[in-house]
């Protein structure tokens, strides 16, 4: 076992894949000498050279489009978009091109887009968003958002192995966290499966990325209050692992979904709708959502902290739901 940060785990997974598959290469702004804004690719340039660790100009639409073409031609591009907020510039290429290639032409597009999501660093409204909702409703794009060290390794391998475009979401607050990692890397996990982070019987808490991490802490804290929360780390937003969610919901009959992002129009709404549709008599109370209010993310630390759900507010909401009569 060894201790690694999330950033190191991503880097080592990328390095291993680069060693294994000569078709793999990385593209993105300042991923070379600088190692990317969050240092994830630091050191890879030295080992793999600038043909495989390609610094791009600041052209999110152009280089994502280029990566799509390269993927179709047989390469395995892994693109870094520095902040998820900038993926707004690649929507056309991803929605109108990548997402439709298999359906219309039967073409594989083995493309991974890694990007740093989320608030918590006082970066302000254009550097703090969770924009998975832009792609969540678009058929043809897979989305994964791990919350643990092992999953960053497992799901990144799974995303790279996938023949479809996959968004791989990395929360900024997870990068510096340290995890115990086994010497041999975990097996790949394909997009599409959730992880039971904590088993329980009284209430189901569903989250992903940083919210899954906080939910797990919330679940632990509830044990002191004699509430056994089942915490599900969604991991994969598209496809959704409804089987796991429904099994848990059917067992606990009380479901709380936590989302970092404005309440209206997020991923939680879809999960809530599906659970309600599929368990017509299975819940004691309607599915609850804990999310941010419908506003941009302000930069001031005080305001940002007040907006984001965290272990304490998740625990409070889950406790309320679990003990409601």
């Amino acid at each position: 076992m060894s201790q690694s940060t999330t950033a190191q785990i991503i880097r080592e997974t990328l390095a291993a894949e680069l060693r294994r598959d000569p078709r793999l290469f990385l593209m993105g702004e300042d991923i070379g000498a600088y190692g990317g804004s969050f240092g994830v690719t630091r050191g890879l340039l030295a080992e793999f050279g600038d043909q495989r660790i390609r610094n791009t100009p600041i052209s999110e639409s152009g280089f994502v489009g280029t990566a799509i073409g390269a993927a179709v031609a047989g390469m395995r591009p892994v693109v870094e978009i520095m902040f998820m907020d900038f993926i707004t510039q690649a929507v056309d290429q991803l929605v109108n091109m990548a997402a439709k290639l298999h359906y219309v032409y039967g073409l594989n597009c083995p493309l991974v887009i890694r990007t740093a999501m989320g608030a918590g660093r006082s970066y302000g409204a254009t550097h703090s968003q969770c924009l998975e909702r832009l792609y969540f409703g678009v058929p043809g794009i897979k989305i994964v958002a791990p919350a643990s060290g092992a999953d960053f390794a497992a799901l990144l391998q799974g995303a790279i192995a996938d023949p479809n475009p996959v968004l791989f979401l990395e929360h900024k607050l997870l990068y510096p966290l340290r995890w115990e990692m086994p010497e041999t890397p975990p097996e790949p996990v394909a997009p599409g499966s959730a992880r039971i982070a904590r088993a329980g019987t009284d209430v189901t808490i569903i989250g992903w990325s940083w919210m899954a991490f906080e939910a797990e802490r919330a679940g632990a804290s509830l044990a002191d209050k004699e509430v056994e929360a089942e915490v599900i780390d969604l991991r994969s937003l598209a496809p959704l692992d409804m089987a796991t969610l429904l099994a848990s919901a059917g067992k606990t009959r009380r479901v709380l979904i936590v989302e970092e992002g404005p309440r209206t129009g997020g991923v939680a709404a879809e999960i809530a709708a599906q659970i309600a549709e599929q368990l017509p008599d299975g819940l004691d109370f309607p599915v609850q959502r804990l999310a941010m209010p419908d506003c941009p993310v302000p930069s001031a630390r005080t305001m940002e902290a007040a907006l984001m759900p965290n272990a304490a507010t998740i625990a409070a909401a889950a406790l309320d739901l679990a003990t409601r009569v």
């Binding site: 152009g62 073409g69 390269a70 031609a73 091109m97 359906y103 219309v104």
Partner: protein, 315 residues
Amino acid sequence: MPDFIHAYDRMLLIRRFEEAVEQLFAEGRIMGTAHTCIGQEATAVGVAAALKPCDAITSTHRGHGHFLARGADPGRLLAELFGRANGYSRGRGGSQMMMDPSIGFYGTNGITGASVAFAAGLALQSRMTRGERVVVAFFGDGASSQGVLHETLNLASLWRLPLIALCEANGYAMSTPQAVGVSVASVADRGAAYGIPGVSVDGNDFEAVHDTVADLAARARRGEGPALLECRTYRLSGHSRGDRREYRTREEEADAWQREPIGRLAGRLREEGLLDDAGLAEHEAAAAARVAEAIAFAEASPEPDLATIAEGVFA
């Protein structure tokens, strides 16, 4: 020297095909939309004649000609317009989403300008694998205003990609004259903005297009990077179905018909003694027959299976 007779055949096929498409729309036998390329055949065929089988093309919303020039089966192409199961995209794509990688044709495209970035990706693969492939990315004068063009040309230049960005300057973007939509006299002048060659040729001159593309492709194959090529032509068709062409005069069109490429190539064939009037008429008839066959094939094609509509979103 390129094969003039073969080129003539292809240009005729494209012309007859596009006329048939317009007719089929007018008769309500096909639905949706299509953009025909009457008057622009020499560019499509000139490019195709200059490329090797390993090379690739990406196309636009006005892509039937590019596809046919590259060797598409007119029957399957038309079946796609009919929305049939053995169309190129099994009825899922239509005119603006057809592809056949097996002949190096990477798609018509309904998003103006977007396919040029995709083309750069094909070129990047070629460069990274030290392949021989050169990629020609068609786009229009109107598309030249799209930001993704700029991003792609900058990147292609920096990375020395084997890419020929080929602007079919046909005078209009829909109703917008080039002078109203493009802030520079020739799109080729923008090559200088990326440190790459910017070349302009008469796009109605099959041989000129062929020779220029052959040169630029050879240059790209030598690893000397991308180029920007403007082919000056004229869209004799309307933009798409239902275009009343109020934004230009009939005189201007009549004038442009004087310079249309097929008659020009026929003249050349006659001059060079390659074909006489009887020969020309024979090729005319063959093209018409080929299109009639294609229509018959398309109409006889099965409808798509509605039970599988939602399948195949993911590989």
